[in-house]
């Protein structure tokens, strides 16, 4: 046996010290969304034909742009970044600020830049240098059903009238958009804000959110949901959900990006779709949030020339056309908007050009992720109903102001200013103090039960152990599925049992999400408590029980006078372990809710992680970690003290 183990170890060491060899070709990797329609496959294929010594690897990643941004950030931080950086328009500032990008003037001198839409080019600049070549442009657009509404609304009031007249919930709503707490929400929100004449920053770059316009915009968004012009579930929708909804004919209008056009025209709704610029208040400009994607080169890339060549190809008219026809992407080259082939397929592009020329970028700032996070949180809070528009506007303004200033403050001062910190601490405390006692209660009952001598006892012990052995992150996916609306089992069971009349959207409601997280956590970690308590129960000599029963104690009295006191050392161990684990919970929440909705399940560890990896504040994050650890240790001592019986403390 020893020889076998030794050999195995040797093989492992070999494997590990020498990583799997890489081919000698030049390989450039990039991450993008799932390549539906095969546009990228074709582009990459054609490039390979003409450039056989370069290999491009397109890695499909999650649909959520936030997650892909995280993947890029992590890859940069790891020192082995993906060579081609397929960037959303809002990532440029941050990536450039960190020095992760290579300037692209070599391949895109100013003359070449002229060929593209001005907004896109502007978005590719940071502090005067050009980092991101636009691949596809994007702007928020209002889709509407030509067959159901005579004319698209232009103002907010017209919108309201159309909804009142033509919508018929729940078969058909007025509008569907992206209301989940993520980046897309900010895009939607800004269109209302700008449509009301407001803005995030004023001309001097100062925060300008405590304004009437902001309140009006938020009130209007809320009204849309309250009046049932949009379905309540819109607060869980991202682009693909709203598209699916609209495609099934359940809404008169949809706010989405231009890519949807192609998909809708391939569906039964073909011919009945119209596109318009977004609604606004009378007298104000119609606004559209600039989106779009571009390619950059990682500075650590060993083959910038090859990368540059690929980017040139992707931004060429040929490739842009492929993207358009196969993917429905909006090109960024001005010339393509007057191209015959394109206009034949998409005549609306003439109008779209107007919209695109006036699309507005989101605030350009290296801290944009943080800014976006603050905006997302507050808007989501309004939509969900836990904050009023006035409160939200004040909160946004304060937080944003604090953020832009607070970076310079000392850490100790930040402890009092950091509202994210306070929120996450509250969530963590709530979570811990709800989860641990429940586990104990349940665990004690189950341990007592399994302790009874009966035939299936071992089977019971094995069964009980299983939840603990399964991977948390993986099971969190299962829980997501079980709490799903409408396909979730939990809703089904509750409805059949009569506890619920209609399916409840657990993960979209702050309370519901917290409950789901608690349920999943208790399910998983109760076994741990059970094992420890079982060991404790088994350690009580049978004679003590017998003696006590001879002395006249029935089962309940025996429990309180003997079992419980003798379990104390075990309870102590279990409580400490559980409390620390609950306070430090990450896996479950990250996968299940990512901290949402409206930050209601965001615990401390999630915040610390974001601080380090997304907001780039490693120092502050470690500082908080240190404090947190100290608190945990102190708490452990306190518990140990509090839960030790006198007889344990006395020595011989």
């Amino acid at each position: 046996m020893m020889k076998g183990l030794g050999f195995l170890t040797f093989v492992c060491v070999l494997f590990l010290v020498f990583p799997i060899p890489v081919s000698s070709q030049v390989v450039l990797r990039m991450i993008g969304p799932e390549d539906l329609g095969g546009a990228w496959t074709e582009i990459v294929g054609r490039f390979h034909e003409r450039n056989p010594e370069i290999r491009i690897r397109y890695i499909p990643g999650p649909w959520s742009t936030d997650q892909r941004q995280d993947m890029y950030i992590r890859s940069f931080m790891s020192g082995d970044p993906y060579e081609l950086v397929y960037m959303d328009v809002i990532w440029t500032a941050k990536f450039a600020e960190k020095g992760w990008l290579l300037p692209l003037e070599e391949w895109f001198p100013p003359e070449k830049q002229e060929a593209f839409l001005p907004g896109d080019i502007e978005a590719g600049h940071y502090k005067g240098r050009f980092y991101r070549a636009p691949v596809r442009s994007d702007a928020g657009v209002l889709y509407y059903r030509k067959d159901l509404i005579p004319n698209p609304p232009r103002t907010w009031r017209e919108f309201e009238e159309i909804c009142r007249k033509y919508s018929n919930p729940p078969e058909r709503y007025g509008i569907v958009f992206q209301g989940m707490q993520y980046e897309g929400l900010v895009c939607n929100y800004l269109e209302y804000l700008w449509g009301a004449g407001g803005s995030v920053l004023d001309e001097k770059g100062k925060v300008h959110l405590e304004t009437q316009e902001n309140i009006m915009a938020l009130e209007f968004m809320k009204k849309i949901i309250d009046e049932d012009w949009a379905p309540k579930s819109v607060i869980t929708f991202q682009e693909q959900h709203s598209l699916e909804f609209f495609e099934k004919g359940k809404a008169l209008m949809m706010r989405n990006w231009p890519y949807a056009w192609k998909i809708l025209n391939d569906s039964p709704l073909r011919g009945n779709i119209g596109m318009a610029s977004f609604i606004r208040r009378p007298g104000k400009e119609s606004a559209s949030t600039l989106g779009g994607w571009g390619l950059g080169i990682a500075r650590a890339n060993k083959h910038p020339q090859a990368a540059g060549r690929f980017i040139e190809f992707v931004t060429s008219p040929e490739a842009q056309k492929i993207l358009h026809f196969k993917r429905g992407a909006v090109p960024s080259r001005k010339s393509l908007f007057t191209d015959e082939e394109i206009l034949k397929e998409s005549p609306h592009y003439r109008d779209l050009y107007e919209v695109l020329s006036r699309a507005r970028p989101r605030p350009v700032h290296p801290d944009y992720p943080r800014i976006s996070s603050i905006l997302q949180k507050h808007v989501s809070a309004v939509l969900v109903g836990i904050m009023s528009p006035e409160e939200a506007s004040r909160g946004m303004s304060r937080s944003l102001g604090g953020l832009l200033k607070g970076r310079r403050e000392g850490w100790l001062k930040r402890l009092t200013l950091d509202s994210d910190l306070h929120r996450t601490m509250k969530n963590t405390v709530l979570f811990t103090f709800l989860s641990v006692p429940s586990e104990f209660f349940l665990g004690l009952l189950m341990a007592l039960f399994i302790h009874l001598p009966f035939r299936g006892r071992n089977f019971g012990r094995l069964t009980v152990l299983i939840p603990w052995a399964l991977p948390t992150a993986v099971m969190a996916m299962t829980w997501q599925w079980m709490f799903n609306n409408p396909f979730g089992v939990i809703n089904d069971v509750l409805m059949r049992a009569g506890f619920l009349r209609a399916p409840f959207d657990w993960l979209a409601t702050p309370g519901g999400a917290m409950f789901a997280a608690l349920f999943a956590d208790i399910w998983k970690t109760t076994p741990f408590v059970i094992i420890i308590l079982l060991a404790g129960l088994q350690s009580i000599p049978k004679e003590l029980e017998e003696s006590l029963s001879l002395d006249g104690a029935g089962p309940f009295k025996r429990f309180f006078h003997l079992t419980l006191p003798m379990l104390t050392p075990f309870i102590r161990v279990a409580v400490i372990f559980r409390m620390i684990h609950a306070a430090g919970i990450f896996d479950l929440i990250w996968v299940l809710t990512k901290g949402g909705p409206a930050d209601s399940t965001r615990t401390l560890c999630l915040y610390l992680y974001d601080l380090a990896f997304r907001y780039d504040e490693i120092g502050y994050s470690l500082f908080l970690t240190f404090l947190f650890l100290a608190a945990l240790i102190l708490m452990s001592f306190a518990i140990t003290r509090g839960l030790t019986l006198r007889y344990e403390r006395i020595g011989r």
Partner: protein
């Protein structure tokens, strides 16, 4: 009568513990249309393996499994070696001193991994071990050592010191004593420790997510978490459930095989603790 109540309660426990897992398997075996049918059907009308197949097709899932095996396997082996050596040495000491050392080790083990990610990441980056198997294995070994030492130490102590003394008189060196006598006699404890460490590494998420961010290096839990939201229309729940089932079935099998030993090992350890 009493027996009926007990079996009923046992049934409840069974349902409570296993239902999520069972539901996952049921969903995984349904063909695509059935997964999204309302009202929900519990048993699939038609059993289909298409979800399982597409899991491997859409993503390099086989690669994920390989990664997980390498990391978990490697970490388990290294942990066991190191823990054996350390526990062997602890065994020679007087018991109070060894217990004190063990207690300190355990204190370090309670720290939730989520708090350690950042410093570990930075350290691994300095060592240029990010995206490298060793970069994940080393932290895993560190995290699991206290527990493994605890278990092995308890098991080693059960063996009387006289064995060592007899062996020394026979001319064995310390290492031979460990390899030839102590380890073979502690097989149950070794098995339990190995299984538990392996399961921990297999299930671990946050360190794997951060230290091996390259898609080809994902471990299975990370791979599954990143499966979400990959399609325009729908989240591929059929496939996700298939992937989950693939991941969890081996764990459950392992547990079933080693169940008795695991319970013994854990309870014995808990008493000492």
């Amino acid at each position: 009568m009493k027996r009926a109540v007990i079996y009923f309660l046992l049934g409840l426990v069974f349902v409570y513990c296993l239902f999520p897992f069972l539901w996952t398997i049921l969903t995984a075996l349904k063909p695509q249309e059935e997964v999204f049918k309302l009202p929900i059907r519990y048993l699939p009308e038609r059993i289909s393996l298409e979800n399982l197949k597409s899991v491997f097709y859409k993503r390099p899932f086989a690669r994920y499994i390989l990664n997980s095996l390498l990391v978990a396997g490697g970490a388990t082996l290294f942990t066991l070696w190191a823990a054996s050596l350390i526990a062997f040495h602890l065994r020679k000491m007087e018991i109070e001193r060894s217990l004190k050392i063990q207690r300190w080790l355990l204190i370090m083990a309670i720290v939730p991994p989520a708090l350690l990610v950042i410093p570990v990441f930075m350290a691994m980056k300095k060592l240029e071990l990010v995206n490298h198997y060793l970069g994940l294995i080393l932290p895993y070994v560190a995290l699991n050592l206290p527990f493994a030492i605890w278990m092995l130490h308890a098991a080693f102590r059960q063996l009387p010191k006289e064995l060592d003394e007899a062996a020394m008189l026979d001319g064995f060196s310390s290492l031979r004593i460990l390899l030839g006598i102590i380890l073979p006699l502690s097989r149950p404890a070794l098995a339990v420790a190995a299984v538990l460490v392996f399961i921990f590494c297999w299930n671990e998420f946050i360190l794997a997510l951060t230290l091996m961010p390259s898609q080809m290096r994902y471990t299975v839990p990370v791979g599954i978490a990143m499966l979400s939201g990959t399609s325009v229309y729908e989240i591929p729940w059929g496939e996700i459930n298939a992937a989950v089932a693939l991941t969890t079935v081996p764990v459950i099998l392992l547990m079933g095989l080693f169940q008795r030993w695991i319970m013994e090992g854990l309870t014995r350890g808990a008493v000492k603790g």
